[in-house]
Point group: C2
Chain length 296, copies 2
């Protein structure tokens, strides 16, 4: 039986609540605020943001469930005919304070065009500022395990889609070391939802062990500077290329909930490039090279 | 007689050189580097950047002259048929260190479609972080005077176009207090070029007196924080809405020369808003209200 809108939204809400609890505990210093908001045309959401934590300089988990007549701008994007839509999703971003701890982003979503079509999409990806191979291997192992046993999911395909999507053409750079990405999966909605829950339930495990390893690594101003410059690339990707962000801003979504993904402190430097033989250069070489396979 | 490509480019180059000299002198601590670059498909440019100055945290003046077959992406934008194009322009941005000193941006450009069309465009605009009415009045007075006596220029029209263009729909905010903006002016190319030179020759005067007044105003961390947050709006405008930036990035222009406009240190804060009765609120009220007239 296909999952109902209510069931899907309820899962996203419980996941939000659970992750906020566990990540506050992991952080130890700050907790997630709660902002409920309404969408004038129908529906609304809950944006939960933490800042100035021990581990997280900024973290946010957003859940929304919106519905109503399909806005004209949306018609073409949906590639489906119909008059009413329903969309629900959870998205999250974590910007750790420590430059050696990576940023993590994840998103699970469901969209329905009344009497016409329904699909799931989502994924998770990791953006390190310094490369630790064991972190990349851990993250991708968890991604691979989450796919295993689900006929609707194929790790290799979703890993490739993630590498393709999180790429900055104007820099010739990957955003990070990838993960999983998929969109518009409409076959076997029951199986899709089971897979989404597996993904959701695995998010903490994909990230927390990495944070535990890196949270207290000593760092200097030069590491923070690189951190801020690389965060600039994150901003560039989200504002120039990310379909969800561009689309949200152009269709007048709730700006603060969309741009909660922006990193807290960011720098741009003209034509700066790390020297050969440095850890900064190692990361850049990775991001400008062919995507690597992190698990066998 | 219409100006030649060479004459126009030579003017932009002399303006770049002159402004770099005068602004280095004004700054007193740093000078503009020189980066010459080539465009593989034809032409090139000179990007001159200053950073870590007394007055300017970052400043850049870019001149380019590029030509060749019209890229497919460009055809529609140009709205003109033809096989070869030539484009030259100067663009500049100055990000002062002091939060009480405004950012200034200006751009002059000429475009030609072989055997088909040619036009000028450009403008200048000011983005303060704190409002000083005398600064806005000075800037607009200079803009108005530059237009006077030129049949090709109308201050009121270009002022309105500037207010319309430098606006962030997703925030409902103007980027700053405006200035002049125009595009695709193809009547009387000789008169247009005379007007461009007047605009170019007036840039220093539009900005330098404001910098002299604000460069040494004492400030605290709270002012810098607001400065960084507002610079985030500048980034949002340039990456999400600015036609030149989007277009440059999507058509694989020289990324470093395009994104040299990015401010040096930037912050994003979730849903932060200045308190009533503060100077920060005064600025925000101005930017979210109807555009003001700064000269009679």
């Amino acid at each position: 039986m296909n999952p109902t809108r209510e069931t899907i939204e309820a899962y996203y809400r419980s996941l939000q609540s659970d992750l906020c609890d566990r990540l506050s505990l992991l952080d130890g210093a700050a907790s997630f605020g709660v902002d409920e908001w309404q969408r004038p045309e129908g529906g609304g959401g809950t944006t939960r943001v933490m800042s100035a934590g021990n581990v997280f300089e900024k973290g946010a988990i957003n859940v929304s469930a919106v519905y109503g007549p399909i806005p004209p701008e949306l018609g073409e994007n949906f590639g489906a005919t119909g008059e009413q839509f329903f969309a629900t999703g959870i998205s999250m971003i974590f910007h750790p304070r420590n430059p050696f701890a990576p940023t993590m982003h994840a998103n699970l979503r469901y969209l329905e065009i009344e009497n016409s079509a329904a699909w799931f999409g989502g994924g998770l990806d990791l953006t390190p500022y310094y490369l630790f191979e064991e972190d990349a291997e851990h993250f991708h192992s968890v991604c691979q395990r989450a796919c295993a046993g689900h006929t609707v999911a194929d790790y290799a395909t979703m890993k490739r889609a993630c590498d393709d999507y999180f790429f900055l053409p104007h820099r010739g750079e990957a955003r990070g070391i990838g993960g999983l990405f998929y969109d518009r999966h409409s076959d076997d909605l029951h199986g899709q939802f089971v897979f989404q829950r597996e993904l959701g339930d695995t998010l903490y495990e994909s990230y927390a062990p990495i944070l535990e390893r890196r949270r207290d690594t000593p760092f200097e101003e030069k590491h923070q500077r690189w951190h801020r410059v690389r965060r600039g690339r994150y901003v560039e990707f989200n504002l120039v290329w990310d379909r969800g962000t561009k689309f949200g801003l152009q269709t007048r979504g709730r700006t603060e909930s969309i741009l909660v993904s922006m990193p807290p402190e960011v720098s741009w430097e003209y034509a700066s490039a790390p020297e050969e033989g440095t850890p900064e250069r190692t990361l850049l070489n990775l991001l400008t090279g062919e995507p690597r396979d992190w698990v066998r």
